[in-house]
């Protein structure tokens, strides 16, 4: 079976050419055949998924249609709670912890008719790779299994066609970088847009629920289903759920886009990444947008504030366990989290002050004149899994700091055939304009929507 987007699968459910159980069966077979090389899926909910698919097939036959996600399988990074399943967070420390209730996003997807197919790998506590002898896998890249898939298996699993949709925690860019490295679409919504109740906490004021999808339209449908106020999340915002479907066909004519020029010259960005982002800018301009070069600036302040907040908040959550059970952490995660002990209270408060200033600056200076920003996502294509530097540095964390929505999408391929990505950033709670540009760009680049079938031996070739 060809890899299906969420939208295409839904269409085939409704014209009778495919059923939810048949789709689940085929995906389970694909995972069994291909994931031995990718190590992206850690838990497969085979029986439950098939039973739920059968229920949803009957419901559809009875005219009980729950909408675009009806019968659609999805995967969760193993930092999101599902009642009765362990949430290990890639750590020995959490190995025996079974969730008592579903995360809010799981509730919302279930209500929308989506089917949980399983869980995918994560870095330990979504912050650092596991040690080589740890009992947790590191996801490999379907474009080249000798290369990293990013900090979780969401990008790898969607790119491999195991499901059209996967959720991940995005605290510093994990969802967007996994999508970028694997050539699919990733979203960090506005801070407050999607509830984090039932997701692992890493750094409360930076944590977002990220979404990885096969196509921009799939991402839009999932975002609509997941959005909405939740009193159980103290960061949740009372903003109306956006109508993203309407935005998808509007095109970019008349939009003003600021191309973040200084990030394209920042060492050590790979020239092919910068080139791909410039090409994306040219495509958007050709489609009718006005693209100007802009300067983000604050080169030192952004990372200083973001890392100070990240480390302090993460350490606050881990201090007790680091002191009591250091041996249960892998060395990379333990040392990364321990560094939070070096942050002083006054530095944390000052970092929050700087954050407010940076938000104001981005809002007034950039979003006062531009509807969107265009920037790189990661500094280089996926490196080898054993590369000393690990995953390439990125340009994602600034928007976890500011809370602006940011979307990562495929915009080209490196000389070695690895995906390259660009990031579209919108005003807070204006995901619709961001999706407008992403959909227009994706339509213009339709030939790029291919799957990594050659490298993993999949029967799948293109996204339908």
């Amino acid at each position: 079976m060809a890899a299906l987007s969420l939208v295409a699968a839904g269409r085939r459910f409704r014209d009778g050419s495919l059923s939810p159980p048949a789709l689940i069966q085929s995906l389970i077979a694909e995972i069994a055949a291909l994931d031995t090389r990718l190590h992206s899926v850690t838990t497969l909910c085979r029986a439950d998924a098939l039973a739920e698919a059968a229920r949803l097939e009957r419901a559809l036959a009875q005219g009980k249609d729950r909408g675009p996600l009806h019968g659609i399988p999805y995967l969760l990074t193993d930092v999101i709670d599902v009642a009765g399943l362990p949430t290990c967070c890639g750590s020995r420390l959490r190995r025996d912890r079974v969730a008592a209730r579903d995360a809010r996003v799981v509730e919302r997807l279930r209500r929308a008719g989506a089917i949980l197919l399983g869980k995918v790998a994560t870095f330990e506590f979504a912050t650092a790779p596991p040690e080589p002898d740890a009992p947790f896998a590191v996801a490999r890249n379907p474009w080249d299994p000798e290369r990293t898939a990013g900090p979780n298996g969401a990008g790898a699993s969607v790119a491999a066609g195991f499901a059209p949709l996967a959720l991940a925690l995005d605290t510093g860019g994990a969802a967007r970088s996994a999508a970028a490295l694997c050539g699919v679409v990733g979203l960090k919504p506005s801070f407050g847009r999607i509830s984090r109740r039932g997701m692992m906490r890493l750094a409360d004021s930076l944590d977002h629920c990220g979404i990885v999808a096969a196509t921009v339209e799939d991402l839009a449908r999932a975002t609509e289903a997941l959005s909405g106020f939740d009193a159980a999340d103290p960061g949740s915002a009372e903003e109306p759920v956006p109508d993203l479907g309407r935005a998808l066909g509007l095109g970019v004519a008349g939009l003003r886009i600021g191309l973040v020029r200084d990030w394209l010259h920042r060492d050590p960005i790979a020239p092919e990444v910068a080139e791909a982002v410039l090409t994306a800018a040219a495509v958007l301009e050709r489609l009718g947008a006005r693209v100007d070069e802009v300067v983000m600036g604050a080169t030192e302040l952004f990372p200083a504030a973001a890392h100070t907040i990240y480390l302090a908040e993460a350490f606050a959550l881990h201090a007790r366990d680091l002191a009591a059970h250091p041996e249960l952490y892998g060395r990379p995660a333990r040392e990364r989290l321990m560094a939070g002990a070096f942050v002083r209270g006054a530095d944390y408060v000052r970092a929050q002050e700087v954050r407010r200033e940076l938000i104001n600056r981005v809002d007034s200076t950039l979003f006062g004149r531009y509807d969107l920003l265009l920037a790189p996502v990661v500094a280089a294509p996926a490196p080898c899994v054993d590369a000393p530097a690990g995953a390439p540095g990125g340009f994602t964390l600034p928007f976890n700091l500011t809370g602006h929505p940011a979307l990562s999408l495929l915009c080209g391929f490196s000389d070695r055939g690895l995906p390259l990505a660009a990031q579209i950033v919108g005003r807070s709670f204006d995901e619709a304009t961001m999706f407008r540009a992403a959909a227009a760009f994706e339509a213009a680049m339709h030939g790029n929507l291919r799957r990594p079938q050659a490298s993993i031996g999949s029967s799948m070739a293109r996204v339908e």
């Binding site: 200083a304 100070t308 321990m338 954050r355």
Partner: protein, 69 residues
């Protein structure tokens, strides 16, 4: 590392009840220096002094538009 840095590094670990293996000391010291470097960068940013009243535009706290940030 200066004596002051060494003292700060050791005190921070002791206060948190954290120990490190001898062969990881250099790596953790590098992390300590990075954090202190960020602190120095942040300290160059001008924050209101203790004598300034709140003017509503600065400070840390929940925001009605983006609560939590």
């Amino acid at each position: 590392m200066s004596d002051a840095e060494e003292a700060g590094f050791t005190a921070a670990l002791a206060e948190a009840g954290l120990g490190i293996a001898a062969d990881r000391r250099a790596a953790m010291m590098a992390a300590y220096r990075r954090v202190r470097c960020w602190s120095a960068i942040l300290s160059r940013y001008e924050v209101p002094s203790s004598t300034e009243p709140c003017d509503g535009s600065r400070g840390v706290g929940p925001c009605p538009e983006r609560s939590g940030i």
